[in-house]
Symmetry: C2
Subunit: 232 residues, 2 copies
DNA sequence: AAGGTAAGTGTATTTTGTACACTTAACCAA
DNA sequence: TTGGTTAAGTGTACAAAATACACTTACCTT
């Protein structure tokens, strides 16, 4: 049995992933049958259930889509432009994914950082409609999702430096060069290797493992992990 | 005629003011008739109207309460704990101010900075129920408003330093010492006068006037204003 | 064994933040 | 008018943080 949903309150999730080269965002895709064969995308999201906390709802959306839990997830802004749904009322393809009411929907937006390898869209119910897209090549999205994505990116950039959350996008074991490349990509600037290492070695819970990179044609790098449980 | 409201979506405003000595917050007060004569307070807020943007709704709440417009207003968090209203369902005094439904209400919280002198609560419809309260002496509030107030304070503190928004709490003409005292109060630490001036003189649009303080028994201070339109 | 590749490391310089004390201008009272 | 009181206004020396910069090392490949 399906829980009852609040008809005009949704959460939307901007899910970021990193494949070693590009910063990507997980979008829901659907072919527009009616007009052309043009593909349109939207952020994953859903109406909030009647007895559900907002954070719970966002985690549910994430889990339903990716089958993973305990993900870095942060609320960053509520959007309530009254025309945000009506504008696209005629595009009813999204109704198949979310049960949209006629009236305006307020959405509370979250951004999320996942290890892209953990996400197996093929296993999820939305498999056919899910796609990782390079954030630099995202086409115009449904509703006001372009605006939401932009806000998410801005917030992520500023929190990347203040909170050092980059490793959330990497596999559990990673090298410092991987982390640096990620920072360079997100902040869109080249960083000095020695200075970068100085700065990130200040952060807690980042510990070197007794293990090195394998299968590379050069000096193998030290592997690190982020271990929040580490006592001091 | 009253506009139609969305039954489970509200905005709440944490309105900060500064009287030269204390940081205050504007609260709605009502005597509990039923139990004792104990006074209880809540943040000003209201349900969002059906065709209203969230920012508009927050501005409306502010205007209805204070009769002023064009105020510094910033959304900082949505709160959606499903028990946030039910917990206090038995206290029906607040129903007289806001039309609360039985079910859970999501609230989008804003904080606002006003020149306390501009606010004449006596002129507003809520005059009898409105009070400026020292943030250090706020009693337990209705619903989850304590939590919301705490979040607002944290956000304000961090944005005070990153965005230099302190003057929003001061009269249009102010001295640098007034600004410094405000910073010291909000950040809860003593600041060095010369270093403070060095740092704030970096910020744009802060310009000295051809005018000095009057009516003080010491050397009168230079008056400044914040002028965002100033070309450079 | 030699060449290719990215890993790993320290120091000097610049910029920013912090600590600190005396002179000035107005008011007031004698 | 003069001397006392009050807060305004101002610069420099030191410490800390951020930045710029180049060579050696370890593993893989041929």
């Amino acid at each position: 049995m399906v829980s009852q949903k609040i008809p005009n309150l949704s959460v939307d999730c901007v899910i970021f992933g990193y494949n070693g080269k590009e910063l990507k965002v997980l979008l829901i895709e659907q072919k527009k049958i009616s007009e052309q064969l043009k593909t349109q995308y939207a952020l994953p999201g859903d109406l909030v259930e009647i007895d559900e906390d907002l954070d719970e709802a966002a985690n549910r959306v994430l889990f339903e889509l990716t089958n993973i839990k305990d993900i870095y997830l942060e609320q960053f802004q509520a959007f309530g432009n009254p025309v945000r749904v009506k504008e696209q009322k005629d595009s009813d393809w999204l109704r198949s994914i979310r049960e949209f009411p006629e009236e305006r929907v307020i959405t509370v937006a979250y951004y999320s950082l996942v290890n892209i390898e953990d996400v197996a869209p093929k296993g999820s119910a939305f498999a056919d409609h899910t796609e990782w897209i390079n954030v630099k090549k995202v086409p115009p999205l449904a509703f006001d999702h372009d605006q939401i994505l932009n806000h998410a990116l801005q917030r992520f950039r500023s929190e990347l430096v203040t909170k050092n959350i980059g490793f959330e996008l990497l596999p559990p074991k990673f090298t410092l060069s991987q982390l640096q490349q990620l920072h360079e990509l997100v902040l869109d600037k080249k960083l000095d290797k020695r200075n970068f290492r100085k700065s990130i070695k200040k952060i807690d819970h980042l510990e070197p493992l007794d293990e090195k990179q394998t299968g590379v044609d050069h000096k193998p790098a030290q592997l690190y992990r982020f271990n929040p449980k580490k006592e001091d």
